[in-house]
Subunit: 140 residues, 2 copies
DNA sequence: CCTTGATCCTCTAGTGGCTAGAGATTCTAG
DNA sequence: CTAGAATCTCTAGCCACTAGAGGATCAAGG
């Protein structure tokens, strides 16, 4: 082992500046250095960074990842807390999906109704300029 | 008219500091001031801010809003550009929805498989620690 | 006229999660 | 021994705001 930061980056898919940033915010520990002050990492850091990357890919916030990391170090503890973090994150994702879908609907309706003519007849501009019209149609 | 900034905020649903911020980034013009240096707004600003708010609610970026605002001032121009901005935004929203739904699937599978026991048996932690397992199941 | 309290002003700094770049040093292969 | 790749620290920037300090101004009531 004893990997330089670039090699750690290659093996985990986390970019070099991001690794340094994670160290700065305390998400990973400061590793030992060479005489010339360069960071050298071991196997544990690969695992930890992979964990972090997977969690980020799933959209967990850094603070939640912090908690999940602590938990993963305590194998005998109850996983109730992990479950609740994941569940609340799932609810958040559901909310975002719902919101985006509503938005998608409005957007695509707007685009469909655009006659591709002049601005003064354009539904896109019109809807933006006067949302009430859009909403009332929506309700009606 | 001649509204103070708080009244403009109330009528448009855009917060006071946000209005000042929009002025700073040139999204709205600097309005006239009272002798005591306070901003006073007219009807045009209400319309413009409403336009901006609607567009932001639909997730358009500020730079796109800038373009849409310019277009809305040129009623005789073709709305081709507005259409293309809206369409590319729609594609972006679609991408986000897709991504979130894939993510949602992984999250909820992870949660379902959590046995609510100890960390060492927890799928949530396990999946995060070793994504390959998850992916291979996914594929299989 | 004067006070009070709400609103307004400017300015700086913080949010989250990085990313970019300058300018200097260190490592490693040939 | 040298060249060039990789590393170091540090600052600043991204997006779209939001928060707060510390002070000025406005409108209404006494």
């Amino acid at each position: 082992m004893n990997l330089p930061i670039g090699e750690l980056a290659r093996r985990t898919g986390v970019k070099v500046p991001t690794i340094r940033f994670y160290e700065q915010i305390g998400l990973i520990a400061a590793p030992p250095r060479t005489e010339g002050n360069q960071r050298r990492y071991g196997k544990a850091e690969i695992d930890r960074l992979n964990f972090i990357r997977h969690a980020r890919e799933l959209g967990f916030e850094v603070d939640h990842i912090r908690e999940l990391l602590v938990m993963s170090q305590e194998p005998q503890a109850s996983c109730h807390q992990a479950d609740s973090i994941a569940k609340s994150h799932l609810r958040e994702v559901d909310r975002r999906i719902e919101r985006l879908q509503a938005l998608r609907g409005e957007l695509s309706r707007m685009i469909d109704e655009c006659g591709h003519g002049r601005i003064c007849d354009c539904r896109i501009i019109e809807v933006l300029a006067d949302h009430r019209q859009c909403v009332s149609e929506h309700v009606a």
